[in-house]
């Protein structure tokens, strides 16, 4: 570390050098026995500590913040178009930290002035954040606010190409903007990548229908950490001997036998031996990493039977949609779930009750044609002490789990109509729950920024997934039940391994989601993950390669639910509060974007990923799920503008 005197001497030398007073400089050098620093050395010496030591008075002057930010903005606006997009990302974090610095230094009035002078640069992209920022005016408020503390304690991740990074640093040096230097050093993680890598990013971006602006992201990890997490190997394949394989085997065997029967006649004459049917299991099948009770043989057979009856959905074969519209339930029903065999419908209500209908009983009633026509009342069960935000039926079809505002999850039985157990663990409202595809385990996501893994027979959580910087809004089990995906309000999606509870993927992209994640879905083969956000944008991620392959952008409001079609997963259905169900062509989106770039004809076809839109009558879609036979179940709450005052 250099002492203060030396630093001053360096400054004087630089001053002399800049003003081309070389004679004086030489004598000064001789007298102080210091040598001139080269440019590179200077960058090295630019340490935060030195800076503060050097000119503390200057940093205290609020006007300095104004000037620094203004000059950075001007410089970016006048720089080459090629680099403008990359460099503009820097503005928002620097704006934030300038403002927070000013408040920390108790210059409240100046801070507000700063905010109002420069807020228009960011108002479009971050309306909610700026709204909150505007109201934070004292240091004490800053300390209590979640948003402020996370931005101060975590670093923004920004990708810059090597050239623009050099430009930025020489700019800082030339203009002597020590302040920006300090902020960059303290609050930003800048990752410099080569132009080759950047090109790869660009190819992915070019396939998007809408060119979005890049945004700085915050995940809490450095780039190196994210890279090492994302480059871990993931066994995303389905389990060995899984139902899907059995169904495929059954279908192939039938085809084979048909062929054999035709060939048999000719073979008799030639007297050749008949071939044996061999089913080749796909290579990527894995073992289960967590102990779990196995499915019973009956259950297994039932599923295989149901699945083999399914019709493949695809571009030319759009699915049928059965819509369950809920009436008298505006502002009352928060969540709906329909079981895969379409037997039960459960709803979670805002009056803290859960209700369900058994559809088979209703069918029986209709068949028997009783004269006294009573309306079909649902079974009502009470227990929660707050609004129920999500319900999920167990894949084994004998119970369902509900999560509520009171921070508990409850397991309810269809057979006894009673609460079976209560799971206490979260301290804040729980937003979402999802069952493992084999039952037994379930995962909850809460407002306390964590997700928890539970099993139905234990009162305590088995795993705690910590890492998100904001609420965990949605959770989803991977089809092989070894992983869990969580989506959060911090605009990132994470994938966690159940065996060790560690984060194995962070899906955060500068051009990905621009608002909180509201819904998640895995493709049935486990390769793709779809995530929907508050703006109605859906991103498709490749889990193995840990990159974004496609962005769907057509919904007007936030997405409530998504699901892939069973078996082949060629179709993604998404539902939103904008009263529509949309069907997307995943088969096309799955093709390698780089290949498509090469042939223009294919690219033209690539545009039509949206297969169809189905509007509903004033019914926001709350739940979407493909049944085992590939019929899409949708459900929503009929709404009207006329308020209903009656509480139930």
């Amino acid at each position: 570390m250099l002492n203060l005197e030396k630093l001053i001497n360096y400054r004087v030398m630089k001053y002399l050098e800049n003003n081309q007073m070389y004679g004086t400089l030489n004598t000064f050098e001789n007298e102080t026995s210091l040598t001139r620093l080269t440019n590179n050395q200077r960058i090295e010496r630019y340490n935060l500590v030195e800076l503060i030591l050097f000119d503390p008075q200057k940093l205290l002057d609020p006007q300095f913040y104004f000037n620094s930010y203004q000059s950075l903005k001007n410089w970016i606006n006048t720089s080459l178009k090629l680099f403008q997009d990359e460099l503009r990302v820097l503005l928002y974090p620097i704006f934030l930290h300038c403002y927070f610095d000013l408040i920390e230094k108790q210059k409240n009035e100046r801070a507000l002035e700063f905010f109002h002078k420069f807020k228009h640069d960011h108002l479009e992209k971050f309306p909610t954040e700026l709204g909150l920022l505007q109201s934070i005016t004292t240091k004490r408020q800053m300390e209590t606010n979640n948003f402020a503390t996370t931005t101060r304690s975590k670093k923004f991740n920004i990708i810059l190409s090597s050239h623009s990074f050099e430009l930025y640093f020489t700019f800082l040096q030339e203009m002597e903007l020590d302040l920006l230097n300090k902020i960059t050093y303290k609050y930003l993680n800048i990752r410099v990548i080569s132009s080759n890598e950047l090109r790869r990013y660009k190819i992915v971006d070019d396939n998007d229908e809408t060119e979005g602006e890049k945004l700085a992201l915050m995940t809490g990890e450095t780039f190196e950490e994210i890279f090492s997490i994302n480059s871990q190997k993931i066994e995303w394949g389905l389990l060995k001997n899984c139902i899907e394989d059995r169904v495929n085997e059954k279908r192939e065997r039938e085809l084979f036998e048909k062929k054999e029967r035709i060939l048999a006649i000719t073979r008799k004459r030639k007297r050749t031996k008949a071939k044996q049917f061999v089913f080749q299991e796909p290579l990527n099948r894995t073992n289960s990493l967590i102990p779990a009770p196995k499915l019973t043989i009956q259950e297994n057979n039932r599923r295989i039977e149901e699945l083999s009856l399914s019709i493949d959905a695809g571009e030319n074969n759009l699915p049928s949609i059965c819509m369950f519209t809920l009436f008298n339930s505006q502002n009352k029903v928060n969540s709906v779930d329909i079981s895969k065999d379409s037997r039960y419908i459960t709803i979670g209500c805002s009056d803290s009750s859960v209700r369900y209908w058994d559809l088979t009983k209703q069918l029986e009633k209709k068949k028997s044609k009783k004269t006294n026509k009573k309306p079909d009342f649902s079974k009502v069960m009470h227990g929660h002490q707050g609004e129920v935000y999500s319900v999920k039926i167990s894949p084994l079809n004998h119970s369902f789990v509900s999560v509520s505002q009171d921070g508990t999850a409850r397991l309810w039985s269809f057979e006894t109509d009673h609460c079976l157990s209560i799971y206490n663990g979260h301290n804040f409202p729980i937003w979402d729950v999802d069952f493992s595809p084999f039952g037994y385990y379930f995962v909850t996501g809460s407002m306390d920024k964590t997700a928890m893994l539970w099993s139905t027979d234990s009162e305590r959580p088995h795993r705690l997934f910590v890492g998100h910087l904001s609420d965990v809004d949605c959770v989803k089990f991977h089809p092989n039940s070894n992983y869990v995906a969580t989506g959060s309000s911090d605009r990132t999606v994470r994938l966690w391994s159940l065996s060790d509870g560690k984060c194995v993927r962070i899906f955060a992209d500068m051009k990905g989601h621009k608002s909180g994640i509201t819904s998640l879905a895995f493709s049935p083969d486990g390769q793709l993950l779809a995530s929907g956000d508050e703006d109605g944008v859906i991103c498709l991620w490749d889990i193995g390669k840990s990159m974004r392959i496609r962005k769907f952008n057509s919904h007007d409001n936030y997405i409530t639910c998504m699901d892939f079609s069973v078996l082949n997963g060629n179709i993604l259905a998404s539902g939103s509060v904008d009263n529509t169900v949309k069907i997307w062509n995943v088969e096309l989106a799955r093709k390698n974007p780089i290949d498509i770039q090469r042939s223009k004809i294919l690219k033209h076809k690539f545009q039509n990923v949206l297969l169809k839109t189905f509007p509903t009558k004033n019914t926001p879609v709350l739940h979407l799920g493909f049944s085992m036979r590939n019929i899409l179940h949708a459900s929503g709450v009929m709404t009207s503008d006329i308020p209903n005052n009656q509480e139930f």
Partner: protein
């Protein structure tokens, strides 16, 4: 958001707090704003997880609960916040108004009245005081409505069935193809290269046609059916169905549709204006009433015959038929032979009202408009428009018909477009005026006849004026382009001088398209 002066005023009111300094008030207001914004963000996330689009007070209560603050209990829980705030604002404004009135009254007496802004800035919901005894004695509130559900098909193999539960989708290629597969097949091939799908649709089309034919057969005997099918299929080029005629079958409609039909007919004949209006709306927008179309048309035909002299019934029937024509999902192609005569009756009938002073002109005008809409919609039936024009033209030329019929013919022809006016009205205008002018000039006893004649002439003038106006505009624009002043360069143009001989200066307003003149003549 919140100005510091508000806080000072609040402190003024509540004497316990005492006086507050300006700077303290500023700090306080900022603190309050911060807290409220935080609260709002929280409540928005509660709203999102309840999967709603509108923020309701319950969300705010939840956010308050989260931060362990006291909840607000006396607000309605499920009304969107925006509506409540509007109400509150209105309440505040009312109070302000009262206050101002008070001040105005007081000003005359003493000048030391309160600051009028005092009440404008804060609002408090008054809490009601309830009497426990009364509450216990009062009857229980009604049982709350239990949530129920209903299922329907939103899509069957990718296409939306047209049932009342589903939304109408306009401009959807698939649906258009299903119903109007007349000359769009070529375009459709380009859009949808998928053969399988096309085959599907074709087979569906067949099914659909068969279904829609059935009711006609039941009501109309086979002769009529054969004819309509023949004309319709001819243009389509598929001969399969023209040969094959489905046997007479019983046409079943559901109980709901039956109820709907009964209700519509009741209101058309007996309801008030408002009910009728909603019926017209329903008829124009509902998707599931195709099955009822034959019954409606039959009803219109029957009632027009029976109620020839009841103006309001006739008007309602015409509005009903207009609504049916406007409905995109109802196919009237097979019932035109029943519908068009009824409309023509309303235009041409000599006596439409019991008293001659009634405003039957309005009905004729409206029916003519409906007719033009119908002709426009069924453009592809090439024989429809010529036949309609023929009927109207015959009664226009016939001198023995009554003047009311004459008027109807003029209105009907005028509504069918400029070309019709040019080809039929203008060549025969002289003959018509030869009858009308003597009546207007000489008739003194029969005022009704005189009025009728004036009406006829006015309508004729308006119709011809439209042509003249369009012509002058065209010529003006042409003159602008070519800088020439030729009068007779185009054969298509009507000889205006000849028309001047007929109508005199009344034509001026159409030639000099000055809005002032135009309105004067219309009045």
């Amino acid at each position: 958001m919140l100005s510091p002066s508000v806080i000072i005023e609040i402190s003024k009111k509540k004497e316990k707090i005492g006086k507050i300094d300006q700077s303290v008030a500023l700090l306080l207001s900022r603190e309050i704003e911060f807290r409220i914004r935080e609260l709002l963000l929280d409540s928005l996330s509660f709203m999102r997880h309840s999967k709603r689009k509108a923020l309701i007070p319950r969300d705010i209560c939840n956010a308050l609960k989260l931060r362990t603050r006291r909840m607000i209990n006396n607000l309605p829980q499920t009304i969107p916040v925006r509506k409540i705030s509007k109400k509150l604002l209105k309440g505040i404004k009312d109070q302000e108004q009262k206050q101002e009135n008070l001040i105005n009254n007081n000003n005359n007496n003493n000048n030391n009245s309160n600051d009028p802004n005092d009440l404008q800035t804060t609002h408090k919901n008054q809490e009601k005081i309830l009497n426990v005894k009364k509450l216990l004695r009062s009857s229980l509130p009604s049982y709350p409505i239990v949530p129920t559900f209903r299922s329907h098909w939103l899509a069957i193999a990718g296409t939306m069935p047209k049932i009342p539960e589903n939304v109408i989708v306009y401009n959807d290629n698939l649906i258009d193809e299903q119903f109007y597969s007349v000359h769009q097949t070529n375009d459709f091939q380009d859009i949808n290269s998928n053969n399988k799908e096309k085959k599907n649709i074709k087979s569906k089309n067949k099914r659909f046609r068969k279904n829609s034919i059935q009711p006609v057969i039941q009501m109309n005997k086979q002769g009529a059916v054969k004819r309509t099918i023949g004309t319709k299929i001819g243009s389509k080029g598929t001969t399969e169905i023209a040969v094959e005629i489905t046997p007479i079958m019983k046409h079943n409609i559901t109980q709901e549709l039956q109820f709907y039909y009964d209700r519509v007919i009741d209101i058309i004949h007996g309801g008030n204006e408002r009910q009728r209006y909603s019926v017209y709306n329903s008829l124009t927008e509902d998707t599931g009433i195709q099955q009822l179309a034959p019954y409606f048309i039959q009803h219109i035909q029957k009632e027009v015959k029976n109620n020839l002299k009841q103006l309001d019934v006739m008007m309602a029937l015409m509005k009903m038929s207009q609504a049916l024509i406007r409905n995109e999902s109802v196919l009237l192609g097979l019932f035109l032979h029943q519908l068009v005569p009824s409309i023509l009756t309303c235009i041409l009938s000599s006596d439409l009202s019991s008293s001659q002073f009634d405003d039957h002109w309005k009905l004729r005008d409206f029916a003519a408009q409906t007719l033009s809409e119908l002709c426009h919609k069924f453009d592809n039936y090439t024989s429809l428009k010529p036949r309609v024009i023929n009927t109207l033209a015959l009664s226009f030329v016939n001198k023995t018909k009554k003047l009311t019929t004459h008027y109807g013919a003029i209105v009907g022809l005028a509504a069918l477009g400029l070309d019709v006016i040019r080809l039929i009205l203008i060549p025969n205008a002289m003959n018509s005026l030869q009858i009308l002018n003597p009546i207007i000039e000489t008739e003194k006893k029969d005022t009704i006849k005189k009025i009728q004649a004036i009406k006829c002439r006015g309508m004729l003038l308006l119709a011809i004026g439209r042509v003249v106006m369009e012509q002058t505009e065209k010529r003006n624009s042409k003159r602008l382009i070519t800088q020439k002043n030729d009068q007779n360069d185009d054969d298509d143009f009507v000889d205006v001088l000849k028309l001047y001989d007929m109508f005199g200066n009344a034509l001026d307003c159409f030639i000099y398209s000055d809005s002032y003149h135009y309105t004067q003549v219309l009045i």
